[in-house]
């Protein structure tokens, strides 16, 4: 996938020029990270065809969706995209299932609905109306609806920022599952470092309309480069003193790991801290399962 967009944008402190030029490996999950007004949402809107660049080019797979030069500009409906914003925008007068079915294109195979209901576990909710659902449930429906047309791109503009931590976690897992199952290329706008780590394999920092860096979350957020080859990031969930040492319990992705720490290390850690866990490649044992 290739895109180049140029457009003058207005921001709170005057206007600036959005200029992005990127080539992307399809199948990546990319976080757009940066201060508000840096151009993150504008990029999503240009990918979606909701905002027209002054100049530019967009090619997804073998299809050109936009080319200023060739005067090609597919409408949002013609582009194979799914979008989820912070607000749910579901039809209040339809059930969950009807909301999904409404998104089908003409003569589309309905089996995708069953597949999504199954993947996002909407079975118990499918005959309810949006008003009876919680925020997290509504956002699950919005996510399912965004995928009904089997898009190539999934565009997520802070879709989870209104949800509490537990619900956020759950929704993040659904998004990852869908990203894999539907072979999506996903763009996520997020401000939360933990979310960036969990979700993306690539993070772009945006500043004043320019991509100032493209890297993995680890190399962006960890200040030091440690030579250990066995390294992960996680969240401290417990710090417990045992004898003269401390046992630090850390959530790494979905796994709980425990690390022994001296009091000098432990005194700098508290529950909720984002940490890097590193060991030398020489230490871990490997055992074959089965």
């Amino acid at each position: 996938m290739i895109f180049q967009f140029t457009k003058k944008l207005n921001a709170a402190n005057g206007h600036f020029r959005l200029e992005v030029d990127a080539e992307i490996t399809e199948g990546n999950l990319i976080t757009l990270y940066g201060e508000s007004g840096a151009g993150k949402t504008s990029i999503l809107r240009m990918l979606a065809g909701l905002l027209q660049p002054e100049r530019g080019y967009l090619k997804v797979g073998e299809e050109v969706w936009y080319s200023a030069e060739e005067k090609i500009n597919l409408s949002p409906q013609q582009r194979k995209i799914g979008i989820v914003f912070q607000d749910y925008a579901l039809f209040p007068n339809m059930t969950v299932r009807q909301n999904l079915e409404f998104a089908l294109y003409k003569n589309q195979d309905k089996r995708v609905i069953a597949e999504l209901v199954d993947l996002i576990e909407l079975g118990d909710l499918q005959y309810r109306r949006p008003e009876t659902l919680s925020g997290g449930q509504k956002q699950r429906v919005a996510l399912a609806r965004a995928l009904v047309r089997r898009p190539k791109l999934l565009l997520l503009d802070e879709p989870l920022s209104a949800l509490d931590k537990a619900m956020r976690d759950k929704l993040q897992n659904y998004i990852l599952k869908l990203h894999r199952n539907f072979n999506l290329t996903t763009f996520l706008v997020s401000h939360e470092v933990k979310e960036v780590f969990k979700m993306s394999n690539e993070v772009w920092v945006l500043k004043d309309g320019k991509i100032t860096s493209r890297s993995t979350p680890l190399s962006l957020f960890s200040q030091t480069d440690v030579s250990g080859k066995f390294k992960f990031t996680g969240e401290v969930i417990d710090v417990e003193k045992s004898d003269v040492i401390f046992i630090i319990t850390i959530l790494v992705a979905n796994n709980i790991v425990k690390v022994v720490a001296d009091e000098r290390e432990a005194s700098q850690l508290s529950v909720g801290d984002e940490v890097l866990v590193a060991s030398k490649a020489f230490n871990p044992l490997i055992q074959k399962i089965n």
């Binding site: 440690v226 080859k229 040492i245």
Partner: protein
Amino acid sequence: MTLVELKVGKYLLKSIVLETPQSAPYLKIDNTINVLFKETEVIIAKGDLTPMSLQNRINGVVSKIERGEILGRLTLDSDIGEIVSLITTSAIDQLILKKGDNVTAMVKTNEIMLSA
């Protein structure tokens, strides 16, 4: 793989890392980096050392001993700063360690991590 020699105070410590000077820009002669090792990997010896494979040896004086039920925590004063070693309490007893003792702290080359 690279065997890195590190000048730490008067000592020459050695670390094995998987990186090479080509893959890791911090592996450069005269570059200052941080040398890290876990307290649990610090081996303690007292008195004359019989020949042994451990190459990283730092002399120190025991400044504090904390005895836990299973593990003990030794703090050493050395030329290169304070070193903490976590060894079993039974090992502390076996070596009859007490405050003021001269000891040697040792760390295997594969346990030393480098951080830019």
